[in-house]
């Protein structure tokens, strides 16, 4: 897979009147194309700063970065980029239709294409009925929806979404999750900043965790999340077998006439299954339980105090 975003020792220091903030510290990162990349970190970790640099809103104090092989600052790369800002502040004097049409013109789309895409996008984010409403009369969640729509007007290959679902209702959140997966299914890359770890866990392929401007974790979600425990459901265990199993397991309980055996270490699994079979029982299922992203997040953050 090709690398679509690459940063090299990216650093940013903000100099304000009373202090200097190191918002990014030597960030070296690669994002593969075609994935949903979850960019995580506590408030003030430097997520928005990273996006601001990648989109050339601010200059890095040190380091370099490339998007689709073009060094940042090259306006051409933006032809194929979509961006939804953290705070959905948009032109309040335009209606949602005019707003999308305006950006369509910025991308030099012809009239028919603009009309088709505007219609399709408004439908997709559920704002069809509001097409003639001025954005100044939009609720925050509606602004986030139109923000997502404008990010897709140019059918981008890479979409930056900075906290795209924070103000959405549960229905909206599910819709947007589905939408993000749909974008990925079209072979596109999504760079997704969020605090809502359950959302990230549901849709992201790859995550990076940032803390105080430093990268503290990065990798595919399924490799990062360790197996926490394994649940074995078994039948027909006599007391002798149970006793042997109890030595290996963390917990054994009877559930609806079956036995639920929880083991913590993966290496104990073969011997457990062996004991069950030798004792004349049989096992119905083996289910590994992974730690949640939330657990990983907290253990990483605490490790790096």
């Amino acid at each position: 897979m090709a690398v679509i975003i690459k940063t090299e020792a990216l650093s940013k220091v903000y100099n304000t009147r009373n202090k200097n903030t190191q918002a990014l510290d030597n960030l070296t990162l690669e994002v593969e194309s075609g994935c949903i990349f979850g960019y995580l970190g506590p408030n003030g970790a430097g997520k928005t700063t990273t996006i601001n640099i990648l989109l050339d809103f601010i200059k890095p104090t040190y380091g370099r970065a490339w998007i689709m092989g073009k060094e940042i600052g090259d306006v051409k790369a933006k032809e194929k980029i979509g961006f939804m800002p953290e705070n959905p502040y948009f032109y309040t004097h335009l209606t949602s239709w005019e707003f999308l049409d305006f950006f369509g013109r910025i991308f030099h789309l012809d009239k028919t294409t603009r009309r088709n895409r505007t219609e399709k996008l408004l439908e997709m984010v559920g704002l069809k009925k509001e097409q003639k409403t001025l954005l100044k009369n939009f609720s925050r969640g509606m602004l986030q929806r139109i923000g997502i729509a404008q990010a897709l007007i140019n059918e981008p290959d890479l979409v930056f979404l900075d906290e795209p679902i924070a103000s959405l209702d549960p229905i909206g959140r599910r819709e947007i999750r589905t939408l993000i997966k749909k974008i990925k299914a079209q072979g596109k890359t999504v760079f997704f900043c969020s605090h809502i770890l359950s959302d990230v866990e549901q849709i992201c392929d790859e995550v990076a965790i940032l803390k105080e401007g430093r990268l503290i974790e990065k990798g595919p979600l399924n490799k990062l999340l360790n197996v926490k425990e394994i649940e074995v459901i078994a039948q027909g265990l006599n007391s002798e077998t149970l006793e042997a199993i109890n030595k290996l397991s963390k917990k054994t309980t009877s559930v609806d006439g079956n036995w639920q055996i929880i083991i913590e270490k993966e290496k104990d699994l073969p011997s457990t299954l062996d004991i069950i079979q030798k004792g004349g029982g049989r096992y119905l299922s083996v289910v590994p339980h992974k730690e949640t992203l939330e657990e990983l997040f907290f253990s990483d953050i605490e490790k790096n105090v």
Binding site: V75, P85, Y89, Y91, I106, G147
Partner: protein
Amino acid sequence: MNIWPIAQSSFKESMRQKILYVIVIFSFITILSALLYKTLAINQEVKLMKDVGLAAMVVLGVLVAIFTGTNSISREIDSKTIHTLLAKPVKRSEFVLGKFLGAGLTTLFNLAIMTIGFLIIVAIVEKGAPFYLLKAIVLTAVELLILVSASIFFSTIFPQAISTIFALLLFLVGHVTNLLPYLISKAETIGTKIIASIFYYLLPNLQYFNLRAEVVNNLSIPVSLILLTIIYGILYAAIGVVLSIFVIRGKDFA
């Protein structure tokens, strides 16, 4: 090039801002009050009315120019709408040019409305088409463009309130630069001399754009003078825009 859509959107924004309507209405009242002069002073010439009307258009035009100029870029930065725009393939220079064009159009549109109203009133009073007044108004238009450009430039560096004050000062000082050589010769401290000289050589002489007395008194004005003044004005406006592009290019929009 993305200048035109940005300009149009800015223009639309101004048109949807109520403040401009207030100014337009106020303008009409002022121009109409010029008519009042005519009726009050029965023996007075129509001249006074034209004087007052043209002067009112300059003052109101300047207010609109400075308001839209200082507002156009600073509003975009303060409200962070600039992020969504710069994430698209828009060069910073295109952004500044679009914003200048939008604010310029707003200002000229406003002047055009005042002009139409004014010309109709004069036409009624004089019972003839007063197109000769356009000579003065065209130069006012160019002067307003200088002020738009300067206001934009100030607003790339200072907050809007301060930019407004600077732009107003530019307007006032620009009309008295003729006096500066005298001030330089009479200045007591070297500091005053230097500052007055800088102002004299750097600031545009806005008095060049004031042909109102000549026009109202029907004096002949060579076309070449008008053309030269227009070029002079456009040059100054262009300097303001180029400087703004320079500042905006180096800016962080966090």
